[in-house]
């Protein structure tokens, strides 16, 4: 069976690479294919997703987290060397914990609960996308069916994860008021665990990929794994960002949540969603400032200087149109993707709502 994935460079596949060249080639795969480059992650980290879109991510990603120890147990089962197993089994301990309430899966459940899910709903995985299940299952099958070298090489995406984690944590804390540091505790541990695991795996691969053919297999395995991650985000984007085609059985906003997950704190406050109708309350006015040649938003004891985009949005805020209507009008006007605009303007509108100058 040959790898159905493109290799980084045809020329490199013809000769035996030095260990340094091999590592560089593997890192190059990550630089071009790792899922930090996926548009969905850009939206996630920049605070451009709605709370429900973040929920969809947390819910689906749980299946991946939950299957990681299954995958690692499959790898472990193929190791005939006790010293290898001693190292590898640490991954299972990290994810499953030593006791109930401990470990990476538990911390992911905390994250899902932090964004409003019921624990039992998340654990049931009944709301995940089929594409998530297929991708994750393909990964488990891969490590069972391919060589041990390929199985270990496929774990090397951990080399790239510290960057995405620090980007993600900083971005999510900054951009989402429903995300707290506690919610993201999962990633704190991974910042130290991932580099340790990756170091072992890369040494193993460099040592055991002793022919051009084996090196090519290792690279293909890492490419495959990048695609496992990428495909999951494609599915999320397709279902929950644009074009918004959610499969019949998949999670839809409002289900699987704890009862008061979205109850606003007081009238007129709380997170503004796509179907909400924003309005400028009395005492907040959009005005052109002739003296300074710009539009300003006048509010109690404050003046907001507005850029052209903010003016375009706020001019359409009339207490009748929903966020989605406004996004649609702007999408037409600027010939852009409505979902992307909607995500953008939700960030801006929620920022103004936090400052108490916009209501719904």
């Amino acid at each position: 069976m040959t790898a159905p994935f493109p290799l980084p460079s045809a020329a490199d596949a013809q000769r035996l690479l030095s260990p340094e060249e091999m590592e560089a080639a593997l890192r190059d795969i990550g630089a071009r294919r790792y899922h930090n480059l996926h548009p969905f992650h850009r939206l996630l980290h920049d605070g451009k997703l709605s709370k429900d879109q973040v929920r969809a991510w947390a819910l689906n990603r749980y299946y991946y987290q939950a299957m990681i120890p299954v995958k690692d147990a499959a790898v472990l089962a193929r190791m005939e060397d006790a010293s290898l197993r001693r190292v590898w089994r640490q991954r299972i301990v990290d994810h499953d914990g030593d006791s109930p309430g401990d470990g990476g899966i538990e911390r992911w459940l905390k994250l899902a609960e932090g964004v409003g899910f019921r624990r039992d709903y998340v654990e049931s995985t009944q709301g995940i996308l089929s594409a998530t299940r297929f991708s994750v299952d393909a990964y488990v099958h891969f490590v069972k069916e391919r060589s041990l070298l390929e199985a270990i090489a496929s774990s090397l995406t951990e080399m790239f994860s510290p960057t995405i984690i620090s980007e993600r944590v900083a971005g999510m804390l900054k951009n989402y008021d429903f995300i707290t540091k506690d919610t993201l505790a999962y990633f704190d541990k991974r910042l130290t665990q991932a580099p340790r695991d990756a170091e072992f795996a890369i040494d193993y691969v460099k040592q055991h990929a002793t022919t051009p053919e084996l090196q090519r297999q290792a690279m293909a395995a890492l490419t495959f794994k990048c695609n496992v991650l990428w495909t999951q985000l494609d599915a999320l984007y397709f279902s929950y960002v644009a074009p918004g085609m959610t499969p019949p059985d998949a999670w839809t906003p409002g289900t699987g949540l704890v009862p008061d997950a979205d109850t606003p704190k007081a009238a007129g406050t709380g997170t503004i969603g796509p179907t909400d109708v924003p309005r400028l309350p009395r005492g907040v006015r959009l005005r052109h400032d002739e003296v300074r040649g710009q539009y300003v938003l006048l509010a109690p004891e404050r003046t907001f200087d507005l850029d052209a985009n903010a003016v375009a949005v706020l001019s359409l805020v009339d207490g009748i149109r929903s966020v989605r209507d406004i996004a649609g009008m702007l999408a037409e006007k600027f010939a852009a993707d409505r979902s992307v605009i909607e995500a953008d303007i939700l960030v801006m509108l929620n920022d103004l709502a936090t400052k108490r100058v916009l209501e719904r």
Binding site: A266, R282, G283, D289, V291, T354
Partner: protein, 382 residues
């Protein structure tokens, strides 16, 4: 103009002190010790001209203040003029006396925002501070009508040792009254507050505690209540940019039409202030001696002159520099870089530790000695 800021900035805010008359007698009032009498107040037409000139000059916000602005018979007309000119009108009121009776008409006139003062949470304490019996229920009734009308409400609480234990209570009160904003403003020691400083100054531990309470509440009430915190100068590291910098953002017109760069500027006796009855607002802003005196950075001495914060805090407050250092062009002693800073802080600590003297209540025609306190010197021990 000086080289660093070649372009004259346009003013953003006009503080219109429509009258010095007020039913309250707060001992920290920012009005001057010599209050204008009703007979000397500008008439309606003059205020309307001032507002028109202000709008043309670039002013966006008008703070209708006093005294108690609703004590003016023409407050509704003045508010209408603001609305007609597109000016954002902010009523800064005590909510007592005739305020409630005029509120609906002010709403109809296009009033944008109400800032209501609260002196304390406990009624007896609040009424002792404000010097007016039965004020608290009137304020609550006023607040209720403001939110019923759908006007945005800000509560303003001036904090001092007589109410610093109520900071948590002010926050709860703001939520209860449906305010969107709360100002927790530690007393700034000018005017009447300077005279009453020993009665008002809290100690450092109380100040720190109040800041912690505000920070926790900001987190808890995010998206529901915005809390602005003004920390007390004497315990600060750097001074505040008074009025956003002298002659940069704010114009203050007194009841008699005198134009000031800030409400306390009259304490600097050598300054020459112009009146709206003699000059256009534009001329006063750009050319009057009082506005040009400390605009920009050319007037600065060391350590301000070479300080990299000179265009952030603009040397702090000129009035405080005069009051505490005896020189209006000195570094504000509230700044930790001032040679007098340690003394200011020691003085605050000392006064906060003493039994507070009785308040000297604000009154029109009082004969309070303006020079009740001598400036600090670098040599003289306190």
């Amino acid at each position: 103009m000086n080289a660093l800021t070649p372009i004259l900035p346009a003013p953003v805010g006009l503080l219109a002190e429509l009258t010095h008359r007020c039913p309250l007698r707060c001992p920290y009032c920012s009005n001057p010790l010599e209050l204008d009498r009703r007979s000397g107040e500008l008439d309606t037409a003059t205020w309307q001209r001032v507002l028109t000139e202000a709008a043309a000059l670039g002013v966006l916000h008008v703070h209708l203040s006093g005294g108690e602005p609703t004590a003016r018979n023409d407050i509704v007309e003045i508010t209408q003029t603001c609305a007609k000119l597109g000016l954002y009108s902010n009523l800064i009121t005590s909510g007592v006396g005739g305020a409630l009776a005029k509120l609906d008409a002010l709403y109809d006139a296009g009033l944008d925002h109400v800032q209501l003062s609260v002196q304390g949470v406990d009624a007896a304490n609040a009424e002792k501070i404000g010097g007016l019996k039965n004020a608290q229920p009137q304020k609550f009734a006023f607040a209720e009508r403001v939110t019923q009308l759908g006007l945005p409400l800000t509560l303003n609480s001036v904090i001092h040792r007589g109410n610093i234990h109520e900071v948590e209570g002010f926050i709860d009160l703001a939520v209860k009254l449906g305010a969107k904003r709360l100002e927790v403003a530690h007393t700034q020691y000018y005017g009447w507050a300077y005279v009453n400083r020993a009665s008002l100054m809290p100690d450092k531990a109380q100040v720190d505690q109040s800041i912690r309470i505000v920070e926790a509440a900001r987190e808890r009430l995010k998206g529901q209540l915005v809390i602005d915190l003004v920390v007390p100068d004497y315990y600060a590291k750097y001074p505040k940019a008074c009025a956003g910098g002298w002659g940069r953002k704010l114009i203050n017109v007194t009841p008699a039409g005198k134009v000031l760069p800030c409400h306390a500027a009259e304490t600097i006796k050598h300054l020459e202030f112009w009146y709206v009855t003699d000059h256009s607002l534009s001329d006063i802003w750009s050319k009057s001696p009082a506005f040009t005196a400390y605009r920009g950075t050319d007037w600065m001495k060391e350590p301000c002159r070479s300080c990299d914060r000179r265009e952030k805090d603009w040397g702090g407050c000129r009035c405080q520099a005069l009051a505490l250092a005896g020189d209006a062009a000195a570094t504000d002693p509230a700044c930790s870089l001032s040679p007098l800073h340690a003394k200011v802080r020691a003085l605050a600590t000392e006064e906060a530790a003493e039994t507070p003297p009785d308040y000297v209540y604000r009154t029109i025609g009082s004969n309070v000695d303006r020079d009740v306190r001598a400036p600090l010197t670098e040599e003289a021990p306190l």
